[in-house]
């Protein structure tokens, strides 16, 4: 009984860690978003940094975590902060960018009302900006919760060299249960975690429904009064969550000039504007300065001979990265095909959608690294008899797939739901077949959603590879391990305490991913905004 209580407490501690860090992300994001829309310089620095960090997988932060929290701070506090930091980096970026996009797209008329009534900063935040950001936050909560839970196994227990660091949570408890072979308690552990995740998903769906119905401009969804629970309707409303972010994204870069002529500004107003602008510049410069200082400090502290060693190993790192990109490509291709067929089917069949989408949501939040060892143990012999030498590769790709598939699925599904109803009438009217619909209307119409989903899928696949490529003793006496791969390289270096090599590998990886993001994702998003915004095809002047 005491063990069950311990498991329950550990699950709640983990859930509390994930949800608490999400709340911190939301709260800090409001102020940062406000600072960003008020100052161009801060905005440029802030958005560029988020875009880079968002595209860099959580694993890249691991060496930083080890250096700063475990080595410098140390003790239980350092380990707890390390775990919190890893989960924070998993959940924060999409929430911050979502809030910024929401603040940036508050309708001009609302801002004019705020100016007209001379609302204070807090009133503007409370009455306009924060309520306006709720639907966007709601849309971003599902992936954030999934990402947060995904990393609990690596964030709550990790080894560096001969040291193992751990902090209280379901990941740690499960680790000790597996080590002591207490099968019954392991199943109880998994079941309690499932119950908690399902409860969180139900709560999030309710919040989404409430946020969309009450805080979305121009939605036809009926306003939900507090206290009414209607899980059945949430799926339909989620589509509205999806519809608005993207249609607003189209206006992301549109400038919003204030029409008021300058002469009506009072002197103190001009002074306030100036203070606000200079504060924003100062914050931007401080952030840049801190980054520069840390970089220079790090470069100086590493001896020349060490730099030489790091540069000499770089070609091997790049080769390993190519192997991993190949794996990511396979995961993406499989995810894409399944997402297209399943996503379209569910979007078109409301009954199946009502059952299928909540199941996928719950499964996506249930962390694959928690249950993979059990599936591995149960299926290894059978899979090995078929795939032979490729067995480990199969499990790694499977882990990558289950940890990232839902991104592209959701994006596509939301994209289909957000297509104008008139498009479906035209398709029906012209008797278009399935493939004709897909080729001419559905795929181009969901292109912005697909690009966003593909980008997130690629970014998240790295998390699965990082865990799967090198997993010593995944089950007693057997390890999961690939031959070559950058994630394996980083894992092995971390495990053997070679932080400099692990950090260098992560650095090279971060640079490549950021370049890829700028060259591919951004270009594709620009193309999507220019030509593939379906809402623009319906003209209603």
């Amino acid at each position: 009984m005491n063990e069950i209580l311990l498991i329950t407490l550990a699950t709640l501690a983990t859930a509390g860690r994930v949800l608490g860090l999400i709340l911190i992300s939301i709260f800090t994001g409001w102020f940062l978003a406000y600072a960003a829309i008020k100052g161009k310089i801060f905005e440029n620095i802030y958005i560029s940094l988020i875009e880079v960090f968002e595209s860099v997988p959580v694993i890249s932060f691991f060496p930083i975590v080890l250096i700063i929290f475990v080595t410098r701070i140390g003790g239980p506090l350092g380990v707890e902060m390390a775990a919190d930091f890893l989960v924070f980096t998993a959940v924060v970026w999409n929430i911050w960018i979502g809030e910024y996009q929401a603040f940036k797209t508050v309708p001009r008329e609302m801002l004019e009302v705020a100016e007209n009534y001379q609302m204070s900063f807090l009133t503007k935040m409370r009455r306009i900006f924060i309520p306006f950001s709720y639907p966007r936050i709601a849309a971003n909560l599902f992936p954030s919760v999934s990402d947060g839970f995904f990393y609990i196994t690596v964030s709550e227990v990790f080894s560096v060299g001969i040291h193992t660091y751990q902090t209280f949570g379901i990941g740690t408890v499960l680790d000790s249960l597996v080590a002591s072979g207490q099968t019954r308690l392991i199943y109880i552990d998994l079941a309690i975690l499932a119950v908690v995740i399902i409860l969180i998903i139900i709560g999030l769906r309710e919040f989404s429904r409430y946020a969309v119905s009450k805080y979305t401009v121009d939605t036809d969804a009926p306003i939900i009064r507090r206290g009414r629970l209607n899980v059945k309707q949430t799926t339909r409303l989620l589509s509205v969550v999806a519809r608005n972010p993207l249609s607003r994204l189209a206006g992301y870069y549109r400038s919003r000039a204030i029409s008021r002529p300058p002469e009506v500004f009072e002197k103190h107003e001009i002074r306030k504007e100036k203070i606000s602008r200079y504060t924003s510049i100062a914050i931007g410069v401080i952030i840049l300065g801190l980054i520069l200082y840390s970089s220079v400090d790090l470069i100086i502290s590493v001896p020349h001979s060490e730099w030489g060693r790091l540069f000499s190993i770089t070609p091997r790192i790049v080769l390993y990265l190519l192997y991993d990109y190949l794996r990511v490509g396979v995961i993406l291709a499989i995810s894409f095909v399944i997402a297209i067929f399943l996503g379209y089917y569910l979007a078109m069949h409301s009954r199946a959608e009502g059952i299928g989408v909540p199941i996928i949501q719950a499964l996506s939040a249930y962390p694959p690294p928690i249950y993979l060892p059990f599936i591995f143990a149960a299926s290894f012999t059978a899979i090995h008899s078929v795939l032979g030498a490729f067995t480990d590769e199969f499990y790694v790709l499977s882990l990558g797939f289950v940890s990232t598939f839902y991104y592209i699925f959701y994006s596509f599904w939301m994209g289909v739901k957000a297509l104008p109803a008139e498009y479906f009438e035209v398709m029906k009217n012209l008797n278009m077949g399935y493939f004709s619909r897909m080729r001419s209307i559905i795929l181009p119409g969901t292109f912005p959603y697909l690009i966003s989903g593909i980008s997130s899928t690629i970014n998240s696949a790295w998390g699965g590879l990082m865990i799967g490529e090198y997993w010593p003793d995944i089950v007693a006496g057997r390890s999961l391990e690939v031959h070559f791969g950058l994630m394996k390289f980083i894992d092995v270096q971390t495990n053997t305490g070679n932080i400099a090599l692990a950090g260098w590998g992560s650095f090279i990886f971060g640079i490549v991913v950021a370049i890829y993001s700028i060259l591919f994702t951004r270009r594709m998003m620009d193309l999507a905004r220019k030509r593939y915004v379906a809402e623009e095809g319906v003209f209603a002047a």
Partner: protein, 270 residues
């Protein structure tokens, strides 16, 4: 009893076969139980331009979707040359109130969309699409994307796409509502000639509008919907020579008749 029903249906179909499009005894309710229509009967004769008018919210667009097979009535049937309509078909094309084009396709590609689904070769499809664009006055604009066009041009693209499908009936849901008055007037003047030109297989048009001047200018037959649930409260035949002059006495007499039908609705107590 069953025999009577079969006999009734056979009579209905025989009667409907005399018309291009015929809606017989249509009842319809929304999912929340609100009854929208009761016993609606509408006939569209050969080469006839039929308009449906009524107050805002009466269900005009819903009726149009029932006529096109997009919505299934609770009672009654819709026939195309006596053949029951149970699902949307390219024989009856709906032109939306919100002008629908596909932003990733050029004007030509937008029009070709309705030909590609008919297994027409690319060359033939392009030729037919160019013809349709020419018919609506958009020759020379084939390679423009919808974003590069005005609202009026976009609506012409939507009409060309509809024409290229070679439909027998056009259902037009307030097609000029999102256009400025000058553009709408220009398109209104063109539309009758475009639709009933010898180059199109079109046999009938149903236009839904709340602009009474517009419908008197265009229609041969006007059905007036009113009351809750909506019923056909009047039918006005317009027998004026074309082009019609909105300032003429006859024109205004017809307008007055329509206004009389559209007095505040009577709500049926259930």
């Amino acid at each position: 009893m069953d025999e009577d029903l079969i006999k009734d249906n056979a009579m209905q179909r025989a009667r409907a076969a005399q018309y291009v499009l015929s809606a017989v005894g249509i009842d319809f309710s929304y999912e929340n139980g609100y009854k929208v229509f009761e016993n609606i009967n509408i006939d569209v004769g050969q080469n006839e331009f039929v308009a449906i008018v009524g107050p805002s919210g009466i269900g005009k667009s819903t009726l149009l979707r029932i006529l096109g097979g997009f919505l299934k009535p609770d009672r009654g049937s819709v026939y195309l040359f006596g053949k029951p309509i149970i699902r949307p078909t390219p024989d009856i094309i709906l032109i939306h109130q919100s002008i629908v084009t596909f932003p990733w396709l050029t004007a030509l590609e937008n029009v070709m969309l309705s030909l590609k689904v008919r297994n027409v070769s690319d060359e033939e499809a392009e030729k037919a699409a160019r013809n349709a664009l020419e018919m609506v006055g958009l020759q020379g604009f084939e390679d423009l994307y919808p974003k590069e066009m005005s609202g009026g041009m976009r609506q012409r693209v939507a009409i060309a796409r509809a024409l290229a499908a070679s439909p027998l009936v056009f259902l037009m849901d307030e097609p000029f509502a999102h256009l400025d008055e000058l553009t709408a007037e220009g398109l209104r003047q063109d539309i009758y000639n475009i639709l009933f030109s010898p180059d199109t297989p079109l046999k009938g048009v149903v236009l839904v509008s709340h602009n009474l001047t517009e419908v008197v200018e265009l229609a041969d037959e006007i059905y007036v919907l009113n009351n809750v649930p909506a019923t056909v409260v009047g039918k006005v035949h317009v027998d004026l020579p074309r082009p019609r002059n909105p300032r003429s006495e006859e024109f205004n007499q017809i307008l007055d008749a329509l206004y009389n039908y559209l007095t505040p609705p009577k709500v049926k107590k259930l």
